[in-house]
């Protein structure tokens, strides 16, 4: 189960009213390598993990990803909440606005809705942990693209924090893969 804590993991500062940037940030809200995909992917892969370390890391990183999803939603909301329709018209956020208003919605920057086909679970710990390591690297790359286009210093600061978390998660998944591989070698399990 989960219990909500009434706080963000990182204090999000947003300095501009910026619908164009909000539309791009949505890549990490509902894109293939975004935070929602990450959370659902890891929490879905837990059941068949063979070691307690692997069950723990997927539970805890999966939970942290949901906190990151909340940070991304907060960035998007703060970037658009004060925008007047004329400030939205002509920006890449306009198509989002006509469907969802200013509410964040899980689709990617190009408007493609989130789908479970973005993730995988194979009941094969080696395959799944490799997917997870790749997912962290792809999310890191996306954050770097976003940092390059961000023209809001507060948003850039939060994006840098989230990028660093991808690096830490990659490290932890790598350690988990080693632990699981060693365990399976001992069991002579194919």
């Amino acid at each position: 189960m989960w219990v909500y804590e009434k706080k963000l993991q990182y204090p999000v500062r947003v300095d501009t009213c910026n619908p164009a940037l909000a539309a791009m940030i949505l890549e990490q809200f509902g894109g293939a390598d975004g935070e929602l995909s990450a959370g659902i992917r890891y929490l879905t892969q837990r059941w068949h993990m063979p070691t307690n370390q692997a069950k723990g890391i997927l539970t805890d990183i999966g939970t942290e990803e949901l906190a990151h999803w909340e940070i991304i939603g907060t960035i998007v909301w703060k970037l658009v909440k004060d925008a007047k329709p004329e400030q939205i018209k002509g920006t890449p956020f306009e198509a989002h606005f006509v469907n969802h208003g200013k509410s964040p919605f899980p689709h990617n920057a190009a408007g493609y809705a989130w789908t479970a086909t973005f993730i995988q679970s194979k009941e094969d710990p080696i395959a799944d942990l490799h997917e997870d390591m790749a997912a962290e690297q792809k999310a890191r790359a996306t954050y770097e693209h976003l940092i390059r286009i961000s023209d809001d210093p507060g948003v850039t600061d939060a994006l840098r924090f989230l990028r660093e978390r991808e690096v830490v998660h990659f490290q932890r998944f790598g350690e988990t893969l080693n632990i699981v591989q060693e365990y399976m070698d001992k069991k002579k399990y194919y």
């Binding site: 990183i61 942290e64 703060k78």
Partner: protein, 87 residues
């Protein structure tokens, strides 16, 4: 939310993040006694700070006891707070 409340909330957010780091590290290094000592120090600090926050400003979690009316829904939600207003 006044500056004193925000400062305490941000202190809790910091210590809570430290706990996320020790949590993930310990998942893959469960016998690292130095990391465990650090984790336990953070955990104690976290309990102290969240208790102080709850007494002064109300609950951060819905499992806390509440005065009337229900305090959980009274304080601002995390996405409504201006975290830089007192910097």
């Amino acid at each position: 939310m006044d500056c004193k409340q925000l400062a305490l909330l941000k202190e809790i957010m910091e210590i809570s993040f430290c706990l996320v780091e020790t949590n993930l590290y310990l998942d893959t290094h469960p016998t690292d006694e130095r990391a465990l000592r650090i984790h336990n120090t953070f955990a104690k600090k976290y309990d102290e700070l969240t208790n102080r926050y709850r007494m002064k400003y109300g609950p951060l979690m819905p499992t806390s006891m509440s005065k009337c009316p229900w305090q959980w829904i009274e304080s601002p939600w995390p996405w409504e707070i201006d975290y830089s207003k007192c910097d």
